[in-house]
């Protein structure tokens, strides 16, 4: 266990919209460029209603499984893959990234998108993983009952992948608590 007590989180609140989003935030690669896919979905609350004031952050390896150490996410040059982006939900609770399909960071490991969720009404950020469709051989997925496992699997659509996030209730997304030694 570590020595210092952690600083607690607080909700991102309703007014982040003029502070955290920025031009090009959700375009990890330019839409329509070679290998670009759309990763999109909806954020829904416990009543099944869209959450129009959520913010998602995406962190992922590139297509070869390389973890980018490049800077420049806030002022994209259109060529450098930094692996990180940010997307706000719209009035229908929908978010959308233009990105690459991630590769395995370690040979044999199941690739996934790491996602962080912020919203008004959400007192602390939530973190989860979106796995590629059909992923089976993975420790985390294997540790979950069938119905919950399904919440971490993206599905394919015409433009790429879809991953919905349900904060509460039926089909509630599995959110993660990362252990520390």
């Amino acid at each position: 266990m570590t020595g210092l007590s952690s600083t607690p989180g607080q909700t991102v609140g309703p007014f982040f919209g003029y502070a955290l989003p920025y031009d090009g935030d959700s375009a990890l690669v330019p839409p329509g460029s070679a290998g670009a896919i759309r990763l999109s979905g909806r954020v829904l609350d416990g009543a099944g209603d869209p959450v129009p004031d959520a913010l998602l952050e995406l962190w992922q390896a590139d297509g070869e499984g390389v973890v980018s150490r490049e800077t420049g996410s806030l002022r994209r040059d259109g060529f450098t893959f930094t692996g990180w982006g940010r997307a706000s939900t719209d009035n229908e609770g929908r978010y959308c990234f233009s990105t690459l399909t991630p590769g395995a960071t370690v040979p044999g490991a199941a690739p996934y998108f790491a996602l962080t969720v912020f919203a008004r009404g959400l007192l602390d950020r939530l973190q989860t993983r979106a796995y590629l469709p059909g992923t089976q051989d993975d420790r985390l997925l294997a540790s979950l009952p069938e119905d919950r496992r399904a919440t971490l699997l993206a599905r394919a659509d015409r433009h790429g992948l879809v991953f919905d996030i349900r904060l509460q209730g039926e089909g509630e997304t599995v959110f993660l608590d990362h252990r520390r030694d």
């Binding site: 570590t2 989180g9 007014f15 608590d177 252990r179």
Partner: protein, 257 residues
Amino acid sequence: MRAPSSDAAAATQAEVSAEIATIAEQYADRGSAEDRVRLDYPPYRSSILRHPTKDLHQVDPEGIELWSPAFGHSDVDPLEADLTIQHAGEPVGERMVVTGRVVDGDGRPVRHQLVEVWQANAGGRYIHQRDQHPAAIDPSFTGVGRCLTDGDGTYRFTTIKPGPYPWKNHRNAWRPAHIHFSVFGTEFTQRLVTQMYFPGDPLFALDPIYQSIVDPAARERLVATYDHDVTQPEWCTGYRWDIVLTGSRRTPMEEDQ
């Protein structure tokens, strides 16, 4: 005790304060330390339909989660750390410097990493369109800043002390003055968005967001310290606030009992 709907602004402060007190008593009776903010905290009405009902799933961080995105001087201009120079005029209010260190649980600095802030102006008004609080917009103040920590993990912003503002959680609800902080660590799991408060705020006891950290010592970690060594003569006041990123939601209560 659970409110029938969120955002109804139906309850009085006395009713919300009673809910806060009941939860605080239940927590004190349990006699164990809870380090983090609660996700399920009904006095904050907007949380009612937006908190997960299932326990967070314990997992060992692996792969991409062991890393954090990198930010550099191509991302952030040093001038972005001064929120008082973004317009032609001087903003209204108490000019202040807020500075501190971002460290991990072992006290190691989080170096050259991104810190973002946003806040209301001195009158308690955000630029954001959703904020319809009838206080003046200050044309000389936007209330958004960014910086990178230095080699010692230190961040530093020059800004204006924000005012408290009303919101619609319940009738006559007011938020204590605060600055929103968004901080990255050295691992994905350390990602933190939180709020920094000012010492001695009379609204602390009434605020369901501040009180959603039910442990008194834990929520006091969000309160900055006035520091006269940061204060500059004939120029501004100074506050110090350190941030510790451990990246775990571990709540000792279950495991340590």
